[in-house]
Symmetry: C2
Subunit: 284 residues, 2 copies
């Protein structure tokens, strides 16, 4: 019965599914969202957001989520401790911590939820120009066996990533513009948006033109609308990713996710670690 | 003796000073960094960062700090509970919570510290063009009696802020470029950088040309270098602030702080609340 139910679930629903036991959430990693050495960070972030979304004390909709990736999560079960640190009339502050059997923190997180009300609105940033996704080729993943890549239909504007065996002689642009959507159709919501906010290849790969040891250390995502602004029927999202600096082992990434109608849905930043490219690293 | 010592301290040192009591830090708000309804958010963020910097278990330098402002902090004493959630070889994850006598969370925070090592480095973003600060007029604060504004020497590039009694008929630009430094000379460090990352007037004031009820809900700052890259003798910092969207009571702000030699020191984002302008609000 449970396995039947799992089969009916969308992979993202299954990966972020939580059950309540003895005052904390319990979940399980999913092979559908696997990255190099652990679960795809976007799925972990979505799971931590869901810990609030599904909590009976929750008020309002997500405004901000910060996830700190402390250590790799092993394949298997995990627990999420969660607490509403402060509930105001229109905002609510949550803290979460994910651990496995040994009790060591593997991810810490904070979330702000907010009740939005009609006000003066103003769009400063404008959606980047991009041809329609239907006119672009779907990205074929030959880069990696990381399963999370196959969960997305990605259409790169201006060239698919082509990472070689050795670095480019000069640094390449850090920016990427692409359409993306769930490969298995799913109504867009906060869970898919936060997962998509991490669904970009490392900027350092694009700059160097080669894969190097790399990972997300911390990810902060802002959600720019209430639930009615965020839910759509498997619409495409236009994603733009960039970076500002790489220094002494740590760099950054910024991401915007846009609705096709021009509304900015989310903005994110993440800090990442990287190591120097070495010929031996290609076998990592 | 204690009052003598306090008088000798720089205002930022004094505002962020912490003493250890019974397993937590104890501090006190400072009238030198006061905003409308509580301590200046930058000073609170610096205090929470200092809780880690001064902790004996700390390894490395600040990489990322997220501060969630849960409720106004009252004038007086506060406590900071702090915990190293996870210590790795080259990164360390901290969680903090600030409260006062009633024990309610007034701010929650997470920080990532990192040991940096020499690697391939790359600057993607470039410092904006700006005339030297010595050629620009110092901003004279006639906007507000918030004391924190007087802690900074601000030199706006392209016009001082001029907020009127009624909104502009059309939205004005959200971007601001300015030089800033501590008004009372102080060696630039992580504490002053995190405080400066919040030392910008609300973007909504610039867009509307008027003051409205406004506050920071959450602030995330990334530090783009180790201590040796961050410390300078009262150098100017070039700050650029922008925003992307304001919708249903919440907007954002992004900030970059640059060293005069062109190095990007920090990037920050914050989510802010705002309320509509009303004639009655001018007496707020």
């Amino acid at each position: 019965m449970m396995s039947q139910s799992e089969n009916d679930l969308h992979p993202l629903e299954n990966a972020t599914r939580l059950t309540w036991h003895d005052g904390h959430w319990r979940g399980h990693t999913s092979p559908d969202y696997w990255a190099f050495i652990g679960p795809f960070g976007g799925a972990t972030a979505a799971t931590l957001l869901r810990a609030v979304l599904d909590h009976p004390d929750r008020i309002g909709d997500p405004l901000a989520l910060t996830v700190n990736y402390c250590a790799p999560i092993a394949e298997g079960q995990f627990q999420i401790a969660i607490r509403a640190a402060k509930t105001n009339r229109s905002t609510q502050h949550w803290t979460m911590e994910l651990c496995q059997q040994d009790g060591e923190a593997l991810a810490t997180a904070t979330a702000v939820f907010a009740v939005r009300r009609p006000t003066w609105n103003h769009a400063v940033a404008r959606i980047p120009h991009a041809p329609a996704p239907q006119t672009l080729a779907r990205f074929e993943n030959k880069l990696s066996r990381s399963s999370w890549i196959d969960r997305y239909d990605m259409r790169f504007v201006g060239g698919n990533p082509a990472f070689g065996a050795t670095p480019q002689s000069e640094p390449q642009p850090a920016d990427t513009l692409l359409w993306l959507r769930d490969a298995e159709p799913r109504r867009l919501d906060y869970l898919s948006l936060v997962s998509m906010s991490d669904a970009f290849f490392g900027r350092v790969f694009h700059i160097l033109g080669v894969l190097v040891p790399f990972g997300t250390v911390t990810l902060t995502t802002y959600f720019h609308g209430g639930a009615q602004d965020m839910v759509a029927e498997n619409d495409w999202v236009l994603g733009r990713a960039g970076a500002s600096v790489f220094r002494n082992g740590f760099g950054d990434q910024s991401v915007e996710l846009w609705a096709p109608d021009g509304r900015l849905l989310t903005t994110s930043i993440q800090a990442t670690y990287y190591r120097d490219w070495k010929p031996a690293d290609t076998s990592d």
